[in-house]
Amino acid sequence: MSAIRLLVGTRKGAFVLTADGKRENWKVSGPHFAGWEIYHLKGSPVDPNWLYASQSSGWFGQQIQRSQDGGENWEPVGNGFVYDGVPGTHQWYDGTQHPWEFKRVWHLEPSLSDPDTIYAGAEDAALFRTTDGGKTWHELSGLRSAKGNLWQPGAGGMCLHTIVLDPTNPERIFVAISAAGAFRTDDAGKTWQPINQGLKSPYELPDPDAEVGHCVHRIAMHPSRPGVLFMQKHWDVMRSDNAGESWNEVSGDLPSDFGFPIDVHAHEPETIYVVPIKSDSEHFPPEGKLRVYRSRMGGNEWEALTRGLPQRDCYVNVLRDAMAVDSLDLCGIYFGTTGGQVYASADAGDTWNPVVRDLPAVLSVEVQTLP
């Protein structure tokens, strides 16, 4: 029987939650790296027992940990995240130019074909790659040539938080950076172009159609249709049918189009999920009701999924990397909250159950579907 492994990063450690294919009874392992912030952990699609974790601390900086046995044992690998050449400068809050300074890794994206190759999205925004299992890291610095001098940090920091690999074209990678936008390479990371046409940010930018500066929160893709991208922007849910060349708004009838995560059903490429949040200054669900919204037609028309989720007095947030879908026949979907709950649905979102209720604030949730 298949099994499910959830990889949960929190403010105070990592947790590994496992269940069989019924997804009813869960075993909780952790905290791993207790006391450290675990922004993200993810397994290699090539060997799912190879896991990588981003471990960081305001005191002691960044570590990358690797497990080769599904999270039972971990070893620190390399943490030398050094910007390529002279780091250069980006826009600072006061309008001056400010040098790039490495702070942490927000997101780890293992290669689709090699368990020793991983991409790392960093704050200050940059993309790093290792090809030796995390021992050494090298920046793909061409990204910062895509008008990097105009990027500036938002409230959450100038972080590269989304990395999407095209399963049909190893040369193509999409990334997203808070308060900078979305970018694409078609030559394996040497050169990059902003892909923000159609994004509108009238409340955040003096030029609402600017080429860079849009606050993209998350991008999702279904592997069977790598040219179709879904985006949760700061405000607005967007869709692109041409690999990011242009975007159209598909917020439709959502109660709020502000939010962080967005994900796609494992078997239905037009079924997508978001968690509306009231506003950029009130990071909690509208009306105190925690609702996942599902569109079965790729946006515009949405239905609220509420069964099993708190429908009163709920004021948690769901962060950008804290939602994931499994690939069992009946697609499971999972998300974690800043209140420390992880919710699971084994029926594509129709009903929900809490897997755990009292973890530290959840920063990320990934899921592995194991044979």
Binding site: G35, W36, S57, G58, W59, F60, G61, Q62, Q63, P76, N79, G80, F81, V82, F102
Partner: protein, 98 residues
């Protein structure tokens, strides 16, 4: 032997219990002690000093002999009691909460 007392998180990372004991060649300074520490425990690189600039991380402090030595220049000799191994050099995570 030079003794270095690490904070709990760094002891866990380096997989050591108690004080670390190090052979340090030449003058005993912050730099020479930290160089020896990082050479023996490479996983500590970047946790106490910046990878590139080698500057002390903002929320790390160096104490010894009831003194805060954090703002000393890295090549300033450490107190004799540290150099002789009588007292440890404490690497401390600064109070940074609220």
């Amino acid at each position: 032997m030079i003794r270095v007392a690490l904070p709990a998180h760094l002891r866990t990372l380096a997989r050591v219990d108690g004080d670390v004991q190090l052979e340090v060649e030449g003058q005993i300074t912050q730099r020479s002690v930290l160089d020896a520490l990082e050479s023996r425990y490479p996983t500590l690189r970047g946790t106490i000093r910046d990878h590139v600039t080698q500057a002390r991380r903002p929320f790390v402090r160096f104490f010894a002999c009831q003194q805060d030595l954090s703002h000393e220049l890295p090549d300033t000799p450490l107190p004799d009691a540290v150099a002789t191994g009588t007292e440890p050099l404490f690497v401390v995570g600064a109070m940074a909460g609220g």
